[in-house]
């Protein structure tokens, strides 16, 4: 079956004005404007099958939202291609928009001064939803999201969590095949986040929708997505199952301990790497295959009040991925500098010997963006 979302070498570059702060910087920028290229997304490729829920992870400014905006047709790419539900997003027009939904965590489509139901009625007209389908879907969404008491209140009087639930309902009334959710739980309390996650799971099961969501909350990722795309500085670093990422990046297990009196840090170091020691709490990282055995020895040898074996927090796993990439980037730049210095030395020697010329073409330098 053809993938429902395909990105091949997708790139988005921006040309932004560079200027220093202050009045002098403003005047210089006016007289001699300088520009630099920002590579927000660089050669990103992936394919998402129908019915998958995929999480798109990355730090702020990584390129997640820019990628989603290209896949929903809001942005034209600088390079590459994409196909969503059989359409090229930026030329797909109304037929394409009818099949997708976009929810932005920090922007809303609900009409601020009117009850949410007015926006639902408006969307019914915009998406040409037949009346019977509208009633059925609205009833389903009201039940799943617990909206019954919210429909007749002006949106400005709803809490953030209530607004997001109404926002999701408005976005899903036309039963889109593909949902693009950009930070859907942003700023919500724990209960509201849980409600949104439960709803998305239930909706996917009932409707078979494909979901691509971005989030900073690892709980969203672990609760919803079986697959993650990790992006940083515009480049895709990882595409695969979350479990595989955990195993590959951090093959250890974490033993969380509540200790009794008299246990020193050095007592724990004999069993594994101590990653936290704040008596009575402590945590050890041990090889995955020995976790059970080491736990048994700890319980036998030390006064342990409570013990649990866990996978390392996903935040740590993701941070390690970014740290690895940052190290590779730094190393690439260093290698580039070393080659430059070597080339310069070689050129100096050539010139002394009566030769010359640039032996290192600019485009061959690793780690450079030009």
């Amino acid at each position: 079956m053809a993938a429902t979302i395909v990105a091949e070498g997708l790139s988005k570059h921006y040309r932004v004005k560079a200027r220093e702060a202050g009045l002098r910087g403003a005047l210089v920028a006016l007289l001699r404007p300088r520009y630099r290229e920002v590579r927000a997304v660089e050669e990103v490729s992936f394919a998402i099958e129908r019915g998958e829920i995929v999480a798109f992870l990355g730090p702020n400014g990584a390129g997640k939202t820019t990628t989603i905006k290209m896949l929903t047709g809001l942005l034209y790419p600088s390079g590459g291609r994409a196909e969503v539900a059989g359409f090229e997003p930026w030329t797909g027009g109304a037929a394409f928009k009818q099949r997708i939904a976009l929810v932005l965590g920090n922007k809303q489509q609900l009409i601020w001064d009117l009850p949410a139901e007015e926006t639902f009625l408006l969307n019914r007209a915009i998406y040409a939803i037949p009346p019977a389908d509208y009633r059925e879907r609205l009833a389903e969404l009201v039940a799943l999201l617990d909206l019954a008491d919210l429909l007749d209140k002006p949106v400005r009087q709803l809490s953030q969590g209530e607004r997001m639930k109404c926002e999701l309902a408005a976005a899903l009334l036309h039963a889109p095949e593909i949902l693009f959710l950009d930070e859907p739980t942003l700023g919500l309390d724990v209960a509201a986040q849980e409600a949104i996650r439960n709803f998305l799971r239930a909706y996917r099961e009932r409707r078979g929708a494909t979901v691509l969501l971005t989030s900073h909350y690892m709980a969203d990722v672990s609760a919803l997505a079986s697959r993650v795309l990790i992006i940083n500085r515009g480049r895709l670093l990882y595409d695969g199952a979350l479990r595989e990422l955990v195993l590959r990046t951090n093959p250890g297990k974490r033993i969380e301990l509540v200790l009794g009196n008299g246990v020193e840090r050095r007592d724990l170091e004999a069993y594994g790497t101590v990653c936290r020691y704040q008596p009575p709490n402590a945590a050890l990282v041990v090889p995955r295959e020995h976790a059970a055995d080491i736990s048994a020895r700890l319980l036998a040898a030390l006064p342990v009040v409570d013990l649990s074996i866990q996978d390392p927090p996903i935040e740590e796993v993701i941070r390690e991925v970014f740290a690895e990439q940052a190290e590779k980037d730094t190393r690439a730049i260093e290698v580039g500098f070393e080659r430059d210095e070597g080339a310069a030395t070689g050129r100096a020697a050539d010139i002394e010997a009566g030769g010359g010329g640039d032996k290192v073409p600019v485009g061959d330098r690793p780690g450079r963006s030009d």
């Binding site: 809001l74 034209y76 408006l122 019914r124």
Partner: protein, 271 residues
């Protein structure tokens, strides 16, 4: 075809209804804007009325000015557009993003927002005119069906030109930081060149000549002069109406070109 027409009619009805309901929430602000819609032409009327007290000015006596500026008041309300400011905000603050994700161009929301305000304003300002006409005969217009039909015909492209010129100006926000500055410039020019400050015949000849090369007279002065009977068919009406259609087509083409190019460079900032 019938299905597509039905969908669009339903969309327009729903959008206009939503705009109307939102306007009801802001009835105080809308009342103030409508009040300015009355005050601005009345200030001009006050000035010209006192000038005409010393004798008619190029064929305009006091009563002529009174009819003219009441016509300007109504035509202005029926053609007013503020979309340059709205669209500038949508583009700069990221509020265009979710609108672009819908299967309908954002201009339709702007059109129906416009229609809702115009309908409200026309009722209110038309009522003001009728009330004043009750005790001030100078502002009364004869009930001549042909004159009212031609005036209605002239108002439609006038409103279209004013809307599209405002919307297209707002699209400049894809390229420049403040498209509203361009809109402010147009507003200032229109005060003179569209007949809002004075009938165009009273402007210096060079200014009149320059105005004829712009769309401003087609937006307000032309329909107002049809309404007061200064322009009638076949006389100057059909020529002026044809010119309106030319400007309407020109602004439509410019809107389509700018929109298509603007979307290609849109950075979708603001979330």
């Amino acid at each position: 075809m019938a299905f597509a027409t039905s969908v669009w009619l339903h969309r327009y009805a729903a959008l206009t209804r939503a705009a109307w309901l939102v306007d009801l929430q802001y009835r105080a602000a809308i009342g103030i804007w409508m009040l300015w819609g009355v005050v601005e032409p009345m200030i001009s009327l006050g000035i010209w009325w006192s000038i005409a007290a010393g004798g008619a000015v190029q064929g305009y006596a006091g009563a002529d000015f009174a009819r003219y500026f009441f016509a300007i008041m109504l035509v202005n309300q029926l053609t007013v557009a503020w979309d340059a400011w709205i669209l500038d905000g949508w583009i700069r603050l990221g509020e265009l993003n979710l609108r672009l994700a819908r299967p309908m161009a954002p201009i339709h929301e702007a059109i129906t927002d416009n229609l809702a305000f115009k309908l409200q304003g026309a009722v209110v300002l038309g009522g003001v005119w009728l009330l004043v006409a009750g005790f001030w005969p100078a502002v009364r217009l004869p009930f001549e069906p042909e004159r009212w039909a031609l005036a209605t015909l002239a108002v439609v492209p006038a409103a279209g030109i004013r809307f599209l010129s405002s919307y297209a100006t707002g699209i400049a926000a894809f390229w420049i930081t403040r498209a509203t500055a361009l809109a402010d410039l147009q507003y200032g020019l229109s005060l003179f060149l569209s007949g809002r400050i004075a009938p165009l015949e009273l402007l210096p000849p060079q200014v009149q000549a320059a105005a004829q090369w712009t769309w401003f007279p087609s937006m307000i002065a032309f329909p107002a002069e049809v309404l007061t009977g200064r322009i009638s068919a076949p006389g100057g009406f059909w020529g002026g109406f044809a010119l309106q259609l030319v400007w309407l087509a020109a602004w439509w083409v410019l809107y389509r070109l700018l929109w298509a190019r603007g979307l290609r460079r849109y950075a979708a900032v603001g979330g």
